[in-house]
């Protein structure tokens, strides 16, 4: 019998390490014969901590929301009484979340032990790089990637084979293959899951890429906020080196290549490839003008190729199974699968990998289970701060690079944040501009000043100080910034503003003309009142109010002085009679 505890960052945050220790203790105490191990992130985050039990017949029992106190039941199961854990087993409705997915990039995540190179090899790992080194030429590898139709999964969607070929044919003896593991998009954690759960797939994918372009050095640029990913990747690199999969004469071939990790230091702009290179060189992460492109002049001004983690995570599978197997999935313009981080006001939040071509509705409602708390869907934000908000009317949009771009949003890295009726879209636009204005590197005027001005206008609107003409001014700024910004951060910063104006203009108008927030979210526009018919005069709210804005006699209806009210909401949260209203 095998007992496997899911230990990705989410699992650990939910208490998985404590669950593991409790199970270990109970197994020892009862003398049960079972192998206890760990795995990475399965991507069913709303059910963490997860424990998979493979009984003696090999059947899987997936236990969810496991607590330390459940360890006794698990030990009992290990001692022969599998029924002891029946209550913890996954609901078949929840299990459909995974059943509806097609996992290529995530094929090993949550299944094998991320700290074991043997577990990876048992599942066919390092077979693809062996095939590439012994049976294929670098040109042949690039051709296979071309057939697959693999496009950059970091957000730009650029054909991977093209970039590899450009680096391959560039002049220069020293070439560098770089993995962009900066994953700065708030709401995106696909890359974190891959590195924590299947670090060897990244190493193998990069080795194939390095062989293809002729690089002898591979660098993984990981953001500072992913300490567990760094620990697991470091171990994987050491193990790979010990097996002769990294270093000189890999697998007995004439191919030399090694790998190192470079930590980011907290700068969203370093997700842009030229800014990333500047950061690798120990400088401020300020983007460079392109051309020249990194393929010609990148790290140390030498030919370099940068790809995202998820892009590399597909490569070994493609080489093993053939490019055609990958391009058989997806749409004519978007081949293969894509991993999405489904979060926000969703019932089942986690990682979803599906072939391109499914609709947003299928992902959010069929797989994600729809909106939690019985609320109404309002919008889905795709592509992080570079993306846009897609309304209900467009839920049948097919997931495809071109079709999503037509809505004004982008595929992006895969962050999908679902919003409901309580989300203010003006507030969301302001949220994204707060982010991009702060993260702007400052190099070019359009982004540096443009994002600041947009942020100021949106703040005024959210604070009830919007003026006629503000929306038009925002649109004018958006056009100018898109046109003049040096890099992708600036060029796409207007997207959240453009899409929220396009699809939620009425909310902007309400904020500006009526000084009202339809979603009752923008604090400055809220008005707290007490319904005299509901109020019992218990005085609890008056006592709780931090600014003494509520007056009233005991057992008489109370009233709020809206001039003094700071809209903290404490009165509403303490009222037991539902007498406090927000509008």
């Amino acid at each position: 019998m095998k007992i496997i505890v899911g230990e990705g960052s989410c699992g650990i945050a939910a208490g998985a390490e404590k669950v593991y220790s409790a199970i270990e203790k109970q197994l020892k105490k009862t003398g049960a014969k079972a192998q206890l191990g760990i795995t990475g992130c399965l991507g069913m985050c709303w059910l963490e901590p997860l424990v998979d039990i493979y009984d003696d017949s090999g059947a899987l029992h997936r236990l969810v929301k496991v607590k330390e106190s459940d360890a006794e039941k698990i030990a009992a199961a290990a001692n022969g009484d599998i029924c002891a854990v029946a209550q913890l087993e996954i609901d078949p409705e929840d299990a459909k979340f995974l059943e509806q997915q097609t996992r290529i990039a995530l094929r090993n995540c949550g299944i094998c032990d991320p700290m074991s190179i043997d577990a990876y090899i048992e599942r066919g790992g390092y077979g693809a790089i062996k095939k590439a080194l012994t049976e294929m030429t670098p040109e042949g590898v690039i051709e296979e990637i071309k057939i697959s139709g693999l496009a950059g999964r970091g957000g730009a969607g650029f054909p991977t084979w093209f970039k590899w070929n450009a680096a391959r044919t560039a002049m220069g003896a020293d070439k560098h293959l770089i993995c962009n593991a900066d994953e700065g998009d708030p709401g995106a954690f696909m890359d974190r899951a891959v590195i924590e759960s299947d670090p060897h797939t990244l190493i193998e994918g990069m080795l194939i890429g390095a062989y293809a372009i002729g690089a002898s050095e591979m660098i993984v640029y990981v953001r500072a906020e992913y300490p567990l990913a760094v620990v697991r990747l470091k171990k994987a690199i050491e193990d790979a080196r010990a097996r002769g999969f990294l270093g000189k004469n890999i697998m007995g071939s004439s191919f030399d290549c090694d790998m190192r990790i470079k930590m980011g230091a907290g700068a969203f702009v370093c997700g842009e490839e030229t800014a990333l290179i500047e950061s690798l060189e120990g400088k401020r992460g300020m983007p460079r003008l392109k051309p020249p492109f990194p393929a010609q002049s990148g790290y140390k001004n030498e030919p370099s190729n940068i790809n995202n983690v998820e892009t590399f995570a597909n490569v070994a599978w493609i080489i093993e199974n053939g490019g055609e197997a990958f391009s058989a999935l997806g749409t004519p313009d978007s081949k293969g699968t894509k991993v999405f981080a489904l979060t926000g006001k969703i019932k089942r939040g986690g990682l979803v990998e599906i072939p391109m071509g499914k609709t947003l509705r299928e992902v959010i409602f069929d797989i994600g289970g729809g909106i939690k708390g019985g609320k109404r869907f309002k919008a889905v934000q795709m592509g992080g701060p570079s993306g846009g908000c897609i309304p209900e009317a467009l839920l049948d949009t097919v997931i495809d690079y071109k079709k999503l771009a037509a809505t004004g949003a982008i595929m992006g890295s895969g962050g999908m944040v679902v919003m409901d009726e309580d989300t203010c879209m003006v507030g969301m636009a302001k949220f994204f501009l707060d982010f991009t204005a702060k993260e702007s590197c400052g190099k070019c005027v359009h982004c540096r000043l443009g994002t600041k001005r947009m942020q100021e206008i949106l703040s005024r609107i959210a604070d009830g100080e919007g003026k006629d003409g503000d929306v038009e001014l925002l649109l004018e700024l958006c056009a100018a910034i898109k046109d003049g910004a040096l890099c992708g951060l600036g060029q796409t910063a207007p997207n959240p503003v453009l899409t929220t104006i396009k699809y939620f203009r009425d909310e902007y108008d309400a904020h500006i003309s009526e000084k009202k927030c339809p979603a009752h979210s923008c604090t400055a526009l809220l008005r707290y009142t007490i319904d005299p018919d509901q109020c019992r005069g218990c005085t609890l709210c008056a006592k709780k109010c931090p600014v003494g804005a509520i007056s009233g006699e005991l057992k008489s209806a109370h009233a709020i002085d809206t001039e003094k009210c700071i809209k903290c909401g404490q009165c509403k949260s303490v009222c037991r009679f539902g007498a406090v209203f927000v509008e």
Binding site: S9, C10, I12, A13, A14, C45, W46, E48, E183, G184, D185, P186, G187, A188, F189, R192, A224, E225, Y226, P227, K262, M263, G264, A265, G266, A267, F268, S279, L280, E281, G282, K283, R284, G285, K300, A341, T343, G344, K345, G349, G350, Q381, G384, G415, V417, V418, M419, T423, F431, F432, F435, E439, C441, P546, C568
Partner: protein, 161 residues
């Protein structure tokens, strides 16, 4: 020479770092990261020493250090609260958590409480979006936070001192 607080930092603690990165191209950020691990933040005299040993001007070193959000130029409190303000956490109520920190501790982004116990950094995204809203305290992730849970946590940590 002492740093901005008049403290004489033991700069010899940097020597192993300089040895490790001797001749390594583009290692300034890595050196700054290791220096912050040693001293808890980047004091002026440490920056000056790094400038001297890496052949950069102090302005160049400060220019790089101030670009990145990870670097601190003042000691942080005993408990470093990194409150995630990413999209999913925002949608699921990170604002309410910020309000708690402001009302209970008068604590805002980038600052430390006068008693030196708590520092707050608003961070962009910790990648635990399905468990939002999330607060990381000294590297430990606290998930599915509510204002009540946060108040209880502050109380617990305050009593520990």
């Amino acid at each position: 020479m002492p740093d901005q607080k008049g403290i004489q930092n033991d700069l010899s603690r940097l020597d192993p770092v300089f040895a490790e990165y001797e001749g390594v191209y583009g290692s300034l950020i890595s050196i700054l990261q290791e220096a912050q691990e040693i001293y808890g933040f980047l004091p002026d005299d440490v920056l000056a020493r790094i400038a001297e040993k890496t052949g950069n001007s102090i302005a160049q070193v400060r220019g790089v250090a101030t670009f990145y959000a990870q670097f601190r130029f003042a000691p942080s409190g005993k408990y470093l609260f990194q409150l995630c303000c990413g999209t999913a956490c925002h949608v699921n109520g990170s604002r309410a958590l910020l309000d708690v920190l402001e009302s209970e501790l008068s604590l805002t982004d980038g600052n430390t409480t006068p008693d030196g116990l708590f520092t707050l950094n608003e961070v962009a995204c910790l990648g635990c979006c399905s468990l939002s809203p999330v607060v990381m305290v000294n590297g430990e992730v606290h998930s599915s936070m509510t204002p009540e849970k946060l108040r209880a946590l502050i109380k617990e940590l305050s009593s520990q001192g």
